[in-house]
C-alpha cells in the first residue's frame, strides 16, 4: 500500500509543485497571493483540449492513451497560457501595483479567478472532457505498486520541467535577476536589473508551468471548469510549506502535499483528501511560517 501511495502521491504532487512554482514566484516577487493561479491551469487544460482537437486524431503512442497531438498541444498551450498570465498582469495587476496595496491586489486576483473560471464555463459548459476515451491500462512496477503509462509520462515530464526551472533560476542571468528582485527590489534596481522585465518573465513562466500542470491533470483525471479552483488550496499549501519565494521549496512542498493527500484516501477516506492540504498548510503556518526552505514568511 505504501508503494501505491508513493507513486500516486508523487504523480499528483509533481503537478501541484509545477503550479505552485508560479504562485511562489509571484508571491515572492510581487508580495501578493495570486488566487487566479489555479485558473491558469484550467485555461491551459482547455487550450490543450482545443489544440489537440484541431490537430486531429492520431494513434496513441505505445501504451499511452494519447498521441503526439496532445504533446504538441501541451507546448502551444503553455505558450498561450503564459500570454494569458502576462496579459492579466498588464491589464489588471500592473495598474493596481502602482497604488502599492497588497490587499487590493489579492481581492483583484480573486475577482480575476472568478472571471476566468466563469469564462471557461460559459465557453465550454460545465461537463467534464477527456483528452482520450481510451482505457489506461496499469503497469505493475513492483509488488503492490501499479501505475498507468500516462501517469509515468506525466511524472517524467513534470520532473523535467521542474529541473529546467531549477536550472534556469540557478544558472542563468534571468534566474539570478529573478532571485535578486525577489530578495531586494531596490537593490536589484541599483544593480541595473529591469524589475519590470523580470516581473514579465515571472508571469510568463508561472503561466506556462501552471498550464502544464493543468494538462497533466487533464491527462490523469479529467478537464473541467473547477479543476484549477480545486487545485488552488494544494498550490498554496505547497508554496507555504516550501517557503514563499522558494522554487525548490514549491517543488518539495508539492510532492509532500501530493503524498499526504494520497495517504489520506486509504487512511481517512477520499472525502478528507482535500482537507489534508489545509491541515498541512495550517500546521506549517503555526510551526514555521517561513516554510521548509526558509523563504519569506507567509
Amino acid at each position: 500500500m505504501i508503494g501505491q501511495i508513493l507513486i500516486d502521491g508523487i504523480t499528483s504532487g509533481a503537478m501541484i509543485g509545477l503550479g505552485a512554482i508560479g504562485l511562489t514566484l509571484t508571491c515572492g516577487l510581487l508580495r501578493f497571493a495570486n488566487f487566479a493561479q489555479g485558473e491558469f491551469a484550467t485555461w491551459g487544460a482547455y487550450f490543450a483540449l482545443l489544440i489537440a482537437g484541431a490537430l486531429g486524431g492520431a494513434a496513441p503512442l505505445g501504451p499511452l492513451t494519447f498521441g503526439w497531438p496532445l504533446l504538441a498541444a501541451l507546448l502551444i498551450s503553455m505558450g498561450l497560457t503564459a500570454l494569458l498570465a502576462w496579459s492579466l498582469d498588464a491589464v489588471l495587476f500592473r495598474r493596481l501595483r502602482r497604488h502599492g496595496n497588497a490587499i487590493v491586489l489579492v481581492i483583484a486576483s480573486f475577482g480575476a479567478s472568478l472571471a476566468l473560471r466563469s469564462a471557461v464555463e460559459f465557453l465550454f459548459g460545465p461537463e467534464p472532457y477527456y483528452y482520450s476515451r481510451d482505457i489506461a491500462m496499469t503497469l505493475r512496477l513492483a509488488p503492490g505498486m501499479r501505475a498507468t503509462a500516462d501517469q509515468l509520462v506525466v511524472l517524467a515530464l513534470a520532473l523535467v520541467l521542474m529541473l529546467a526551472m531549477h536550472l534556469l533560476l540557478a544558472r542563468t542571468p534571468l534566474g539570478r535577476a529573478m532571485r535578486a528582485v525577489s530578495e531586494n527590489p531596490d537593490l536589484a534596481r541599483l544593480a541595473g536589473i529591469d524589475a519590470a522585465r523580470v516581473v514579465r518573465a515571472t508571469w510568463l513562466l508561472g503561466g506556462a508551468l501552471a498550464a502544464a500542470a493543468g494538462v497533466f491533470l487533464g491527462v490523469t483525471v479529467q478537464v473541467r471548469p473547477a479543476m484549477g479552483f480545486e487545485l488552488l488550496l494544494p498550490l498554496f499549501a505547497a508554496a507555504i510549506l516550501g517557503g514563499i519565494g522558494s522554487v525548490p521549496g514549491a517543488m518539495v512542498g508539492g510532492l509532500v502535499i501530493g503524498i499526504a493527500e494520497a495517504a489520506a484516501v486509504p487512511l481517512a477516506g477520499a472525502q478528507y483528501r482535500a482537507a489534508v492540504a489545509f491541515v498541512v498548510m495550517l500546521a506549517m503556518l503555526l510551526v514555521r511560517p517561513r516554510g521548509l526552505f526558509g523563504g519569506r514568511a507567509a
Binding site: 539570478r176 536589484a188 541599483l190 541595473g192
Partner: protein, 240 residues
C-alpha cells in the same frame, strides 16, 4: 563643469513633505565629498534621491552634463552612477560570485570577467569567499562586497550611505581607505557618514546638512578645525 552637479534639490518620500529642501553641490572626478549632520538631517534621502530611489520634486541632478532625473534607477548604473545603500546592500541569499555576476551583467560580455577580477583584486577577502552566500559574510566582508558590486560597472560617480555603520573601528579605517583608493582611480565619491572623525580624514570636502538644508560647506580640513561646526552639528565632538 563638474562631473556631478546637484542644484536646488527638493526631495522626499511623500508629495508635499520634502526632507531635502533645496540642496546643491558639485563633485569632480577623483574627489570625495562627505555629507555630515545629525540624524534626520536628510543625508541618506539626498543620496537616495541622487540614486533615483526617492522622488525628486524640484531641482536638477546632472551627471557629465546630462540630466539624470528622467533616467530610472535601474539605468543610472549604466549612466555612470553607482550607489551603495546603508542596509540590505548585498543579495544575502545569493553567493558572492552571483552578487558580482549581477553587477557585471550591465557590462558588455567581453568586459565582465576583467571588471570582476579588478574588484576582487581591490578586495582580496572576497575571492576566497566566492562560493559562500553573501548573508553568511562578516559585516566587513559584506560591506566590501557591496562596494565591489557598485564598482564593477565602472561608475564615474559612486554614492555610499554610511559604509562604516555597524563595523568594528579597525574595519572602518580599512573601508574608508578603500574609498580613497577608488577616488584615486578617478571616481567621484559622495559619502554619507555619521562617523565624523574617520570621514573627514579621507574626504576632500564636506557638507553639513541640518533639517534638509546645507548649514556648512567647505574643505574637510576647514570643517575639521571649525569649533562651531563641531559643537553645533557634529555632536559637540571636535574631530581631531
Amino acid at each position: 563643469m563638474s562631473l556631478l552637479e546637484v542644484r536646488d534639490l527638493v526631495a522626499g518620500y511623500e508629495p508635499g513633505l520634502p526632507i531635502v529642501r533645496g540642496v546643491g553641490f558639485a563633485l569632480d572626478a577623483g574627489e570625495i565629498l562627505v555629507l555630515l549632520g545629525p540624524n534626520g538631517a536628510g543625508k541618506s534621502t539626498l543620496a537616495r534621491a541622487v540614486a533615483g530611489l526617492v522622488p525628486v520634486a524640484e531641482g536638477t541632478v546632472m551627471l557629465g552634463g546630462g540630466s539624470l532625473l528622467a533616467v530610472p534607477a535601474h539605468r543610472r548604473i549604466g549612466a555612470g552612477l553607482g550607489f551603495v545603500p546603508q542596509s540590505g546592500n548585498v543579495f544575502a541569499a545569493l553567493t558572492v560570485a552571483e552578487n558580482l555576476a549581477i553587477a557585471a551583467a550591465v557590462l558588455p560580455r567581453a568586459a565582465r570577467a576583467g571588471r570582476i577580477a579588478a574588484a576582487l583584486a581591490l578586495f582580496p577577502d572576497l575571492a576566497a569567499a566566492r562560493g559562500r552566500a553573501a548573508g553568511l559574510l562578516s559585516g566587513g566582508q559584506r560591506q566590501m562586497l557591496a562596494i565591489a558590486r557598485a564598482l564593477i560597472p565602472a561608475p564615474r560617480v559612486m554614492a555610499l550611505d554610511e559604509p562604516s555603520a555597524g563595523l568594528a573601528p579597525k574595519l572602518v579605517g580599512t573601508v574608508l581607505a578603500k574609498l580613497r583608493e577608488i577616488a584615486a582611480g578617478g571616481v567621484a565619491v559622495l559619502l554619507v557618514e555619521q562617523n565624523v572623525r574617520a570621514a573627514l580624514a579621507v574626504a576632500d570636502r564636506a557638507m553639513v546638512l541640518v533639517e534638509g538644508r546645507v548649514a556648512h560647506a567647505g574643505t574637510a580640513a576647514a570643517l575639521r578645525d571649525d569649533p562651531r561646526v563641531a559643537a553645533l552639528y557634529l555632536g559637540g565632538v571636535r574631530a581631531a
